[in-house]
């Protein structure tokens, strides 16, 4: 089915809502990938915090994940050490500043807006993004 004007308008609004979360474009600001990594570290079990596992979690290849982790280290938001089991793997931990940064996660603003919807709308939205997230985008 070809998307109509309202479908396109809905897609524009979705894009705008997410883009508005990440308004901070100042040099040294935390990128979307870096925020995903911080969220990942905020919920990972101790055994999972290797750079390889983080790459799997965020669904990005090793090189950009490593660059993002190094940038987070430069911002003082994570600390790095070598894995005792596999010296090629970095163990990544949230620093105190990283833990504190999670309370300023830009996605919390959007989540806060969702939480303020009426119960029916809120459940509908959760269901709709689930359907869209599972089916993914059609291939070009």
């Amino acid at each position: 089915m070809t998307p109509d004007r309202r479908d396109i308008a809905a897609a524009v609004l979705l894009e705008k809502l997410v883009a508005d979360c990440y308004q901070d474009r100042a040099p040294g600001s935390v990128s979307r990938l870096q925020w995903s990594i911080l969220r990942c570290l905020g919920r990972a079990e101790p055994a999972e915090k290797t750079s390889g596992w983080i790459a799997r979690y965020v669904g990005v290849t090793a090189a950009p994940t490593s660059r993002a982790i190094r940038a987070l280290e430069e911002h003082g938001l994570v600390t790095l050490s070598r894995s005792a089991q596999d010296g090629r793997q970095l163990i990544v931990e949230l620093s105190d500043a990283g833990q504190e940064a999670l309370s300023r996660d830009p996605l919390l603003r959007l989540a806060g807006s969702i939480s303020k919807l009426g119960e029916t709308d809120r459940i509908s939205l959760q269901r709709i993004v689930q359907i869209l997230g599972l089916s993914g985008l059609p291939k070009e």
Binding site: S36, E45, A47, V58, Q126, Q130
Partner: protein, 123 residues
Amino acid sequence: MARILLVDDDKSLARVCQRALAREGHDVETVHDHGTAITCAEAADAYDLAILDFWMEAESSLSILRALRAKSSGLPILYISGGGGGLSLEVTAALAEAGGATEFLFKPFRPRDLSARVEALLR
């Protein structure tokens, strides 16, 4: 002792999980297919906790999650997954949590990680 519904099409992993939880004194009902899991979900109130694998027979188990949530809004539901379907673990967890999963445990995990997570959810 808690009554736990464990839904995973990986029979060997389900056996390891079942043993770990039985050692903690829990009564675990193990299910390996969608149809039986949906039937069990009809009696969601009979369980204290459910554990669902995200990918079941190459399909997501979100319909099972929906069936469980339709019958019980308060049942703790622990999702487990090692990824698949071309989705990142981040998206996989978000899909389950948007559907009402209480917690997510990423594979591979140790039996003691599972037991610890279950005990925390039952508290």
